[in-house]
Homo-oligomer: 280 residues x 2
């Protein structure tokens, strides 16, 4: 497994593989089993798998956890070698942004303003920018993103389509702990007592899913309110619980593929989770 | 010379040439000798030259000349075959924008707000979007743009750098009529009497250039005002005359490479011109 810190070195290595299929797995590092699953998916679709590890400053607002976000490159590389990643791209902020703040913006429209975009208004603009840069740097045939960041995945589909990147975008299923908590680097911000409460998030979404399968659309708001109340009672500060169709639009009676999405703070950790639901 | 109207057809053809150097010359068609010079430059830097012909709606504001902009594909292709262009990409608006208006935006920052950006506020956002799409569709090694659109060229350099397209961007010199008028598709909007006046634009910039070479920065504003007065007297409605350094920033005493830029209406035609000046 080769590790690169500069764009030029990575591209020189990639140029030896231009006749092969290349996959990109963009990450912010501090890898867990969820990331490793994305690498395994990438290996199934490509000859060369590049994993980028970059804590991207443009997707953090002032006061968010950019400085404290865990950086564990050595352990990450050890994990990545166990799943046969081929190349790791771990650039510095200066390497990615010689001009900072950047002049150029890549905005993805209204889909960035809902859900997480409400409480993190610039977040997905930063994601759109760094993903566009990574796509251009690596020029992958395939890119794999986790479904835990469901809204991010939807935005990347849109970017890929509307900017004609021509990349096959694959969403990897959420990987969960035995008690149902979606794996996330931010779970380590939880105290032991918070960690014990955390699975209530996925349990609440599961319970909501079971109730909406044959419920009328008109009942969704009160079902959502019940879910929020349950989370609040358990100790969460709820950011949102929403039910959308799988394009992240308000569901209509004809939509069969729905998704329940939630974000909630538990102590210092802002936890995300979602659940795809097939409506009857 | 092959002519393609769909992205899929163009890319299928380009995929046969991925071991060769590819150049892109983006145009809005209605080609003149200025465009043909860009193709000739492209031929010197690449094995395969793709010329795109697309009147891009997102760079026209309501009330501008999108509908009336001359579309002359057949004549354009005849001209392009004389300079050995290899591929012409002439997509429909639907092919380029299946979703219209697009959700995704590519913004290039403050440089889009000066000069032409003042009177055409969204113009360069449309340019940034369509050029990003064309870069991704064609994936050229080299792209050639005319220096008549000096600000556009500066913006494309910025986009290319900050989004890591990794393309060699080349600016082609302005091609002028014998009387000095910069060639432009929009010159055909001029009546015969306006066409006789039009060379005053380039003559005025030339005269201004001779006066700033050894003038103090403090004298620039009054020299610019004299130039504007001369143009107004000749019958132009001046949009701007500005002196910047070659990065399109306000010049300082240490800047040696300056550029004079002007935009002025003559009848229905908005004429652009500029002149690079080496200061002593």
């Amino acid at each position: 497994m080769q590790i690169f810190h500069t764009i030029a070195q990575l591209q020189a290595a990639l140029n030896q593989h231009r006749h092969q299929k290349v996959a990109l797995v963009p990450t912010m590092g501090n890898l867990h089993e969820g990331h490793l699953q994305l690498v395994k998916i990438a290996k199934q679709h490509a000859d060369v798998v590049v994993v980028s590890i970059f804590v991207n400053p443009t997707q953090f607002a002032a006061g968010e956890d950019f400085d404290s976000y865990p950086r564990t490159l050595q352990a990450d590389c050890q994990q990545l070698s166990t799943v046969n990643a081929d190349m790791v791209f771990a650039p510095s902020v200066d390497e990615m942004y010689p001009i900072y703040p950047p002049n150029v913006q890549v905005l993805s429209g209204e889909i960035t303003q809902i859900l997480c975009g409400k409480s993190r208004p610039m977040h997905f603009d930063g994601v759109g920018l760094v993903v566009s840069k990574l796509f251009n740097i690596v020029r992958p045939d395939v890119a794999v993103f986790g479904k835990k960041d469901y809204q991010q995945l939807a935005i990347i589909h849109k970017l890929n389509n509307e900017l004609n990147f021509g990349i096959k975008i694959i969403g990897g299923e959420i990987v969960r702990a035995d008690d149902g908590l979606a794996l996330s680097s931010r779970n380590q911000y939880l105290s032991a007592s918070e960690r014990a409460i955390a699975p209530v998030l996925s349990q609440s979404l599961q319970a909501l899913a079971e109730r909406i399968i044959d419920a009328d659309l008109a009942a969704y708001p009160s079902l959502i309110d019940e879910t929020k109340a349950r989370l609040t009672q358990a100790g969460f500060v709820v950011d949102y619980v929403e039910i959308y169709n799988h394009h992240l639009q308000q569901p209509t009676h004809t939509d069969e593929q729905l998704v329940i999405l939630a974000a909630a703070w538990l102590g210092k950790a802002r936890l995300l989770d979602n659940l795809e639901v097939l409506r009857q």
